[in-house]
Protein backbone atom coordinates (compact mmCIF):
# COMPACT_ATOMS: atom_id res chain seq x y z
CA UNK A 1 0.00 0.00 0.00
CA UNK A 2 1.37 3.42 -0.87
CA UNK A 3 2.06 5.43 2.27
CA UNK A 4 0.34 8.78 2.48
CA UNK A 5 1.98 11.08 5.01
CA UNK A 6 0.86 14.66 5.62
CA UNK A 7 2.24 17.07 8.23
CA UNK A 8 0.09 19.99 9.43
CA UNK A 9 2.61 22.50 10.71
CA UNK A 10 3.54 26.16 11.17
CA UNK A 11 7.06 27.04 10.05
CA UNK A 12 8.40 28.83 13.21
CA UNK A 13 7.01 26.21 15.63
CA UNK A 14 9.76 24.32 17.46
CA UNK A 15 7.24 21.54 18.03
CA UNK A 16 6.54 21.29 14.32
CA UNK A 17 10.29 21.27 13.65
CA UNK A 18 10.64 18.13 15.77
CA UNK A 19 8.22 16.28 13.48
CA UNK A 20 10.00 17.60 10.37
CA UNK A 21 13.35 16.39 11.71
CA UNK A 22 12.06 12.91 12.55
CA UNK A 23 10.54 12.52 9.08
CA UNK A 24 13.75 13.75 7.43
CA UNK A 25 16.01 11.49 9.50
CA UNK A 26 13.87 8.51 8.52
CA UNK A 27 13.84 9.56 4.84
CA UNK A 28 10.04 9.62 4.76
CA UNK A 29 8.32 11.40 1.87
CA UNK A 30 5.48 13.61 3.05
CA UNK A 31 3.25 16.51 2.12
CA UNK A 32 3.89 19.62 4.21
CA UNK A 33 0.75 21.69 4.83
CA UNK A 34 1.30 25.14 6.30
CA UNK A 35 -1.21 26.30 8.87
CA UNK A 36 -1.34 30.06 9.06
CA UNK A 37 -1.91 30.21 12.81
CA UNK A 38 -1.84 33.99 12.79
CA UNK A 39 -4.73 34.03 10.30
CA UNK A 40 -6.89 31.34 11.90
CA UNK A 41 -7.07 27.55 12.19
CA UNK A 42 -8.12 25.49 9.17
CA UNK A 43 -11.04 23.07 9.05
CA UNK A 44 -8.56 20.25 8.47
CA UNK A 45 -6.66 21.08 11.68
CA UNK A 46 -9.84 21.32 13.73
CA UNK A 47 -10.99 17.98 12.30
CA UNK A 48 -7.66 16.20 12.81
CA UNK A 49 -6.96 17.54 16.29
CA UNK A 50 -10.34 18.47 17.79
CA UNK A 51 -9.17 18.11 21.40
CA UNK A 52 -6.09 20.38 21.41
CA UNK A 53 -6.56 22.21 18.06
CA UNK A 54 -2.75 22.51 17.76
CA UNK A 55 -0.01 21.75 15.30
CA UNK A 56 1.94 19.66 14.56
CA UNK A 57 -0.43 16.91 13.43
CA UNK A 58 0.94 13.97 11.48
CA UNK A 59 -1.66 12.35 9.24
CA UNK A 60 -0.58 8.84 8.26
CA UNK A 61 -2.89 7.23 5.70
CA UNK A 62 -5.68 9.52 6.85
CA UNK A 63 -5.20 8.83 10.59
CA UNK A 64 -3.99 11.74 12.77
CA UNK A 65 -1.29 11.66 15.47
CA UNK A 66 -0.83 14.78 17.65
CA UNK A 67 1.70 16.16 20.17
CA UNK A 68 5.27 16.60 18.94
CA UNK A 69 7.06 14.07 21.16
CA UNK A 70 4.30 11.52 20.62
CA UNK A 71 4.64 12.08 16.86
CA UNK A 72 8.42 11.56 16.99
CA UNK A 73 8.02 8.29 18.92
CA UNK A 74 5.27 7.19 16.53
CA UNK A 75 7.51 7.87 13.52
CA UNK A 76 10.32 5.90 15.20
CA UNK A 77 8.03 2.93 15.89
CA UNK A 78 6.00 2.91 12.65
CA UNK A 79 9.18 3.06 10.53
CA UNK A 80 11.24 0.94 12.90
CA UNK A 81 13.36 -0.61 10.15
CA UNK A 82 14.95 2.77 9.38
CA UNK A 83 17.43 4.94 11.32
CA UNK A 84 16.61 4.52 15.03
CA UNK A 85 15.72 7.70 16.90
CA UNK A 86 15.32 6.36 20.45
CA UNK A 87 18.13 4.33 22.03
CA UNK A 88 17.49 0.58 22.38
CA UNK A 89 18.48 0.33 26.04
CA UNK A 90 15.48 0.90 28.38
CA UNK A 91 17.49 3.04 30.83
CA UNK A 92 18.86 5.25 28.02
CA UNK A 93 15.31 5.58 26.67
CA UNK A 94 14.11 6.62 30.13
CA UNK A 95 16.82 9.29 30.31
CA UNK A 96 15.92 10.60 26.83
CA UNK A 97 12.22 10.80 27.76
CA UNK A 98 12.97 12.45 31.11
CA UNK A 99 15.02 15.24 29.55
CA UNK A 100 12.58 15.76 26.65
CA UNK A 101 9.84 16.21 29.27
CA UNK A 102 12.16 18.63 31.14
CA UNK A 103 12.63 20.68 27.97
CA UNK A 104 8.86 21.02 27.52
CA UNK A 105 8.16 21.81 31.19
CA UNK A 106 11.09 24.14 31.97
CA UNK A 107 12.92 25.37 28.88
CA UNK A 108 9.88 26.14 26.73
CA UNK A 109 7.93 27.80 29.54
CA UNK A 110 10.76 30.02 30.77
CA UNK A 111 11.89 30.83 27.22
CA UNK A 112 8.38 31.96 26.38
CA UNK A 113 8.37 34.18 29.49
CA UNK A 114 11.74 35.68 28.54
CA UNK A 115 10.42 36.94 25.22
CA UNK A 116 6.94 37.94 26.32
CA UNK A 117 7.35 39.51 29.75
CA UNK A 118 9.21 42.46 31.25
CA UNK A 119 10.78 43.64 34.49
CA UNK A 120 11.04 41.31 37.47
CA UNK A 121 9.00 38.58 35.76
CA UNK A 122 11.42 38.55 32.83
CA UNK A 123 14.46 38.51 35.12
CA UNK A 124 13.11 35.50 36.99
CA UNK A 125 12.37 33.75 33.69
CA UNK A 126 15.93 34.43 32.47
CA UNK A 127 17.38 32.80 35.57
CA UNK A 128 15.15 29.73 35.18
CA UNK A 129 15.91 29.55 31.45
CA UNK A 130 19.69 29.66 31.93
CA UNK A 131 19.59 27.24 34.87
CA UNK A 132 17.64 24.81 32.69
CA UNK A 133 20.11 25.15 29.83
CA UNK A 134 23.02 24.53 32.19
CA UNK A 135 21.37 21.34 33.41
CA UNK A 136 20.96 20.21 29.79
CA UNK A 137 24.60 21.06 29.10
CA UNK A 138 25.52 18.86 32.06
CA UNK A 139 23.44 16.03 30.62
CA UNK A 140 25.22 16.41 27.26
CA UNK A 141 28.61 16.17 28.94
CA UNK A 142 31.37 15.33 26.47
CA UNK A 143 29.13 13.37 24.12
CA UNK A 144 28.87 14.61 20.51
CA UNK A 145 25.08 14.32 20.71
CA UNK A 146 22.56 13.85 23.51
CA UNK A 147 22.00 10.43 21.94
CA UNK A 148 25.71 9.61 22.35
CA UNK A 149 27.46 8.91 19.07
CA UNK A 150 24.17 9.16 17.22
CA UNK A 151 21.84 12.12 16.68
CA UNK A 152 18.59 10.95 18.28
CA UNK A 153 15.34 11.65 20.10
CA UNK A 154 16.64 14.16 22.63
CA UNK A 155 18.70 16.01 20.01
CA UNK A 156 15.53 16.24 17.89
CA UNK A 157 13.55 17.45 20.92
CA UNK A 158 15.99 20.26 21.68
CA UNK A 159 17.67 21.47 18.45
CA UNK A 160 14.55 23.38 17.26
CA UNK A 161 15.07 25.73 20.22
CA UNK A 162 18.40 26.82 18.71
CA UNK A 163 16.49 28.74 16.02
CA UNK A 164 14.86 30.71 18.84
CA UNK A 165 18.07 31.49 20.77
CA UNK A 166 18.70 34.82 19.03
CA UNK A 167 15.11 35.86 19.86
CA UNK A 168 15.49 34.95 23.54
CA UNK A 169 18.92 36.63 23.75
CA UNK A 170 17.73 39.84 22.13
CA UNK A 171 14.50 40.16 24.14
CA UNK A 172 16.25 39.15 27.35
CA UNK A 173 19.52 40.94 26.70
CA UNK A 174 21.86 38.07 27.54
CA UNK A 175 24.22 35.62 25.83
CA UNK A 176 23.56 31.90 25.83
CA UNK A 177 27.01 31.06 24.41
CA UNK A 178 28.69 32.89 27.29
CA UNK A 179 27.09 30.56 29.85
CA UNK A 180 26.70 27.37 27.79
CA UNK A 181 29.45 27.15 25.19
CA UNK A 182 29.17 23.35 24.94
CA UNK A 183 25.49 23.62 24.03
CA UNK A 184 26.29 26.03 21.22
CA UNK A 185 29.04 23.68 20.00
CA UNK A 186 26.51 20.83 20.04
CA UNK A 187 24.00 22.95 18.11
CA UNK A 188 26.55 23.81 15.44
CA UNK A 189 27.44 20.13 15.13
CA UNK A 190 23.72 19.35 14.62
CA UNK A 191 23.49 22.12 11.99
CA UNK A 192 25.83 20.05 9.78
CA UNK A 193 23.12 17.44 9.33
CA UNK A 194 20.98 17.68 6.21
CA UNK A 195 17.76 17.47 8.20
CA UNK A 196 18.71 20.29 10.57
CA UNK A 197 19.90 22.56 7.71
CA UNK A 198 16.31 22.82 6.50
CA UNK A 199 15.11 24.42 9.76
CA UNK A 200 14.37 28.16 9.85
CA UNK A 201 17.29 30.49 10.54
CA UNK A 202 17.60 32.47 13.76
CA UNK A 203 17.03 35.82 12.05
CA UNK A 204 13.89 34.50 10.29
CA UNK A 205 12.37 33.51 13.63
CA UNK A 206 13.33 36.84 15.18
CA UNK A 207 11.78 38.80 12.29
CA UNK A 208 8.63 36.69 12.61
CA UNK A 209 8.33 37.44 16.35
CA UNK A 210 8.81 41.18 15.73
CA UNK A 211 6.17 41.06 13.01
CA UNK A 212 3.64 39.26 15.24
CA UNK A 213 4.32 41.59 18.17
CA UNK A 214 3.69 44.59 15.92
CA UNK A 215 0.53 43.07 14.48
CA UNK A 216 -0.94 42.44 17.91
CA UNK A 217 0.37 45.66 19.42
CA UNK A 218 2.62 43.80 21.83
CA UNK A 219 5.71 45.90 21.19
Amino acid sequence: MAEEVVLLDFWPSMFGMRARLALAEKGIQYEYKEEDLVGGKSQLLLKMNPVQKKIPVLIHNGIPVSESLIIVQYIDEAWSERYQLLPSDPYQRAQARFWADFIDKKVWTSGHQVRSSKGAEQEAAKVEFMDSLKLLEGELGDKPYFGGQNFGFLDIAFIPFYGWFHTYETFGNFSIEASCPKLIAWAKRCMERESVKTLPQQHEIYDFVLHVNKMFGLD
Binding site: Q73, E77, A78, P90
Partner: protein, 229 residues
Amino acid sequence: MAKSDVKLLGFWPSSYVNRVQIALNVKSIDYEFVEERFRPKSELLLSSNPVHKKIPVFFHGDKPICESLVIVQYIDEEWTNGPSILPSDPYDRAVARFWVAYVDEKWFPSLGELRSAQGEEAKAALIEKVVEGLALLEEAFVECSKGKAYFGGDSIGYLDIAFGSFLGWLKVVEIVADVKLLDEAKIPGLAQWAVRFSSNDAVKDVLPEPEKLIEFVKIIEARIKAAAK
Protein backbone atom coordinates in the same frame (compact mmCIF):
# COMPACT_ATOMS: atom_id res chain seq x y z
CA MET B 1 15.82 -10.06 40.84
CA ALA B 2 16.56 -9.46 44.52
CA LYS B 3 14.00 -7.27 46.26
CA SER B 4 16.66 -4.77 47.36
CA ASP B 5 17.61 -4.20 43.70
CA VAL B 6 14.24 -2.58 43.05
CA LYS B 7 13.16 0.32 45.21
CA LEU B 8 10.45 2.94 45.06
CA LEU B 9 10.78 6.19 46.97
CA GLY B 10 7.29 7.55 47.49
CA PHE B 11 4.34 8.58 49.62
CA TRP B 12 0.97 6.80 49.74
CA PRO B 13 -1.39 9.68 48.81
CA SER B 14 0.49 10.46 45.59
CA SER B 15 -1.29 9.29 42.43
CA TYR B 16 2.06 9.52 40.64
CA VAL B 17 3.57 7.05 43.11
CA ASN B 18 0.46 4.85 42.82
CA ARG B 19 1.07 4.58 39.07
CA VAL B 20 4.47 3.01 39.65
CA GLN B 21 3.12 0.67 42.32
CA ILE B 22 0.40 -0.54 39.97
CA ALA B 23 2.88 -1.07 37.11
CA LEU B 24 5.14 -3.09 39.41
CA ASN B 25 2.15 -5.20 40.47
CA VAL B 26 1.13 -5.80 36.85
CA LYS B 27 4.60 -7.22 36.24
CA SER B 28 4.65 -9.08 39.60
CA ILE B 29 7.90 -7.36 40.56
CA ASP B 30 9.02 -7.51 44.19
CA TYR B 31 10.26 -4.17 45.45
CA GLU B 32 11.09 -2.21 48.55
CA PHE B 33 8.88 0.79 49.26
CA VAL B 34 10.80 3.59 50.93
CA GLU B 35 8.52 6.21 52.44
CA GLU B 36 9.52 9.81 51.93
CA ARG B 37 8.73 11.72 55.12
CA PHE B 38 9.33 15.28 53.77
CA ARG B 39 9.69 18.12 56.30
CA PRO B 40 12.44 18.38 55.16
CA LYS B 41 12.93 16.47 51.89
CA SER B 42 15.33 13.57 52.51
CA GLU B 43 18.93 13.40 51.31
CA LEU B 44 17.93 10.40 49.22
CA LEU B 45 15.23 12.39 47.42
CA LEU B 46 17.40 15.45 46.84
CA SER B 47 20.35 13.42 45.58
CA SER B 48 18.37 11.04 43.36
CA ASN B 49 16.10 13.69 41.83
CA PRO B 50 18.09 16.93 41.95
CA VAL B 51 16.23 18.35 38.94
CA HIS B 52 12.64 18.21 40.25
CA LYS B 53 13.11 17.07 43.88
CA LYS B 54 9.84 15.13 43.67
CA ILE B 55 8.54 11.63 44.29
CA PRO B 56 8.24 9.03 42.84
CA VAL B 57 11.86 8.07 42.32
CA PHE B 58 12.40 4.51 41.10
CA PHE B 59 15.68 2.69 41.69
CA HIS B 60 16.79 -0.28 39.62
CA GLY B 61 20.13 -1.30 41.07
CA ASP B 62 21.90 2.02 41.60
CA LYS B 63 20.14 3.80 38.72
CA PRO B 64 17.45 6.32 39.71
CA ILE B 65 14.62 7.07 37.29
CA CYS B 66 12.23 10.00 37.79
CA GLU B 67 8.82 11.13 36.47
CA SER B 68 5.97 8.62 36.89
CA LEU B 69 5.27 8.09 33.18
CA VAL B 70 8.96 7.68 32.34
CA ILE B 71 9.19 5.10 35.14
CA VAL B 72 6.09 3.16 33.99
CA GLN B 73 7.45 2.97 30.44
CA TYR B 74 10.86 1.88 31.78
CA ILE B 75 9.23 -0.90 33.82
CA ASP B 76 7.32 -2.04 30.73
CA GLU B 77 10.45 -2.09 28.55
CA GLU B 78 12.85 -3.58 31.10
CA TRP B 79 10.62 -6.42 32.32
CA THR B 80 9.44 -7.97 29.07
CA ASN B 81 8.16 -11.25 30.52
CA GLY B 82 4.78 -10.56 31.97
CA PRO B 83 1.82 -8.59 30.61
CA SER B 84 2.58 -5.56 28.39
CA ILE B 85 1.57 -2.16 29.69
CA LEU B 86 1.89 -0.15 26.46
CA PRO B 87 -0.01 -1.53 23.42
CA SER B 88 2.16 -3.12 20.74
CA ASP B 89 0.77 -1.25 17.71
CA PRO B 90 2.49 2.13 17.07
CA TYR B 91 -0.81 3.94 16.45
CA ASP B 92 -2.48 2.49 19.58
CA ARG B 93 0.61 3.58 21.55
CA ALA B 94 0.30 7.11 20.15
CA VAL B 95 -3.40 7.24 21.08
CA ALA B 96 -2.69 5.99 24.63
CA ARG B 97 0.13 8.55 25.02
CA PHE B 98 -2.10 11.35 23.70
CA TRP B 99 -4.84 10.70 26.27
CA VAL B 100 -2.33 10.25 29.09
CA ALA B 101 -0.89 13.67 28.21
CA TYR B 102 -4.42 15.10 28.11
CA VAL B 103 -5.23 13.66 31.56
CA ASP B 104 -2.01 15.05 33.06
CA GLU B 105 -1.93 18.45 31.39
CA LYS B 106 -5.62 19.34 31.07
CA TRP B 107 -8.04 17.11 32.95
CA PHE B 108 -6.36 16.57 36.32
CA PRO B 109 -5.50 20.29 36.72
CA SER B 110 -9.20 21.09 36.08
CA LEU B 111 -10.10 18.64 38.88
CA GLY B 112 -7.63 20.42 41.16
CA GLU B 113 -9.21 23.77 40.35
CA LEU B 114 -12.64 22.38 41.20
CA ARG B 115 -11.37 21.05 44.54
CA SER B 116 -10.31 24.54 45.62
CA ALA B 117 -13.21 26.43 43.98
CA GLN B 118 -14.69 29.33 45.92
CA GLY B 119 -18.26 30.44 45.31
CA GLU B 120 -21.19 28.72 43.57
CA GLU B 121 -20.68 30.35 40.15
CA ALA B 122 -16.99 29.46 39.97
CA LYS B 123 -17.77 25.94 41.21
CA ALA B 124 -20.46 25.43 38.55
CA ALA B 125 -18.13 26.55 35.76
CA LEU B 126 -15.38 24.25 36.97
CA ILE B 127 -17.73 21.29 37.33
CA GLU B 128 -18.72 21.81 33.69
CA LYS B 129 -15.05 21.83 32.67
CA VAL B 130 -14.32 18.56 34.51
CA VAL B 131 -17.49 16.93 33.13
CA GLU B 132 -16.60 17.98 29.56
CA GLY B 133 -13.22 16.36 30.02
CA LEU B 134 -14.82 13.18 31.29
CA ALA B 135 -17.08 13.12 28.23
CA LEU B 136 -13.98 13.22 26.01
CA LEU B 137 -12.40 10.45 28.06
CA GLU B 138 -15.58 8.39 27.71
CA GLU B 139 -15.16 8.63 23.89
CA ALA B 140 -11.51 7.67 24.31
CA PHE B 141 -12.57 4.66 26.37
CA VAL B 142 -14.93 3.48 23.64
CA GLU B 143 -12.18 3.93 21.01
CA CYS B 144 -9.37 2.31 22.98
CA SER B 145 -11.19 -0.53 24.74
CA LYS B 146 -12.86 -1.77 21.53
CA GLY B 147 -15.61 -3.32 23.65
CA LYS B 148 -13.28 -4.83 26.24
CA ALA B 149 -12.90 -4.20 29.96
CA TYR B 150 -10.07 -1.66 30.01
CA PHE B 151 -8.52 1.10 27.88
CA GLY B 152 -5.75 -1.45 27.36
CA GLY B 153 -8.18 -4.19 26.28
CA ASP B 154 -8.46 -7.38 28.35
CA SER B 155 -5.87 -6.25 30.86
CA ILE B 156 -4.99 -2.86 32.33
CA GLY B 157 -2.58 -0.75 30.29
CA TYR B 158 -0.79 2.58 30.22
CA LEU B 159 -3.87 4.81 30.01
CA ASP B 160 -5.77 2.74 32.60
CA ILE B 161 -2.87 3.21 35.02
CA ALA B 162 -2.29 6.91 34.30
CA PHE B 163 -5.95 7.93 34.50
CA GLY B 164 -7.02 5.34 37.09
CA SER B 165 -4.39 6.58 39.54
CA PHE B 166 -6.52 9.73 39.94
CA LEU B 167 -9.71 7.86 40.92
CA GLY B 168 -9.15 8.30 44.66
CA TRP B 169 -8.87 12.07 44.25
CA LEU B 170 -11.84 12.12 41.86
CA LYS B 171 -13.94 10.53 44.61
CA VAL B 172 -12.59 13.09 47.11
CA VAL B 173 -13.84 15.93 44.90
CA GLU B 174 -17.23 14.22 44.52
CA ILE B 175 -17.55 14.13 48.32
CA VAL B 176 -16.13 17.57 49.09
CA ALA B 177 -17.88 19.44 46.25
CA ASP B 178 -21.02 17.31 46.61
CA VAL B 179 -21.27 16.46 42.92
CA LYS B 180 -21.57 13.21 41.00
CA LEU B 181 -18.81 13.18 38.38
CA LEU B 182 -18.60 9.48 37.49
CA ASP B 183 -22.26 9.52 36.50
CA GLU B 184 -23.34 6.11 35.15
CA ALA B 185 -26.18 7.79 33.22
CA LYS B 186 -23.84 10.17 31.39
CA ILE B 187 -20.59 8.18 31.12
CA PRO B 188 -21.50 4.51 31.52
CA GLY B 189 -18.28 3.20 30.02
CA LEU B 190 -16.05 5.12 32.43
CA ALA B 191 -18.30 4.56 35.44
CA GLN B 192 -18.12 0.79 35.01
CA TRP B 193 -14.43 0.87 34.11
CA ALA B 194 -13.71 2.74 37.36
CA VAL B 195 -15.26 -0.05 39.43
CA ARG B 196 -13.41 -2.73 37.47
CA PHE B 197 -10.10 -0.85 37.67
CA SER B 198 -10.33 -0.16 41.40
CA SER B 199 -10.99 -3.82 42.19
CA ASN B 200 -8.29 -5.16 39.84
CA ASP B 201 -5.71 -7.27 41.67
CA ALA B 202 -2.84 -4.97 40.69
CA VAL B 203 -4.74 -1.91 41.92
CA LYS B 204 -6.93 -2.73 44.91
CA ASP B 205 -4.23 -2.52 47.59
CA VAL B 206 -2.66 0.58 46.08
CA LEU B 207 -5.36 3.23 45.53
CA PRO B 208 -6.07 5.02 48.81
CA GLU B 209 -9.66 5.25 50.05
CA PRO B 210 -11.13 8.76 49.54
CA GLU B 211 -11.84 9.04 53.29
CA LYS B 212 -8.15 8.54 54.05
CA LEU B 213 -7.23 11.17 51.45
CA ILE B 214 -9.72 13.64 52.96
CA GLU B 215 -8.18 13.09 56.43
CA PHE B 216 -4.73 13.62 54.92
CA VAL B 217 -5.80 16.91 53.31
CA LYS B 218 -7.25 18.12 56.65
CA ILE B 219 -3.93 17.42 58.39
CA ILE B 220 -1.96 19.31 55.72
CA GLU B 221 -4.37 22.28 55.77
CA ALA B 222 -4.16 22.44 59.57
CA ARG B 223 -0.36 22.48 59.34
CA ILE B 224 -0.40 25.26 56.75
CA LYS B 225 -2.77 27.31 58.95
CA ALA B 226 -0.58 26.78 62.02
CA ALA B 227 2.56 27.77 60.12
CA ALA B 228 0.88 30.96 58.86
CA LYS B 229 0.23 32.23 62.40
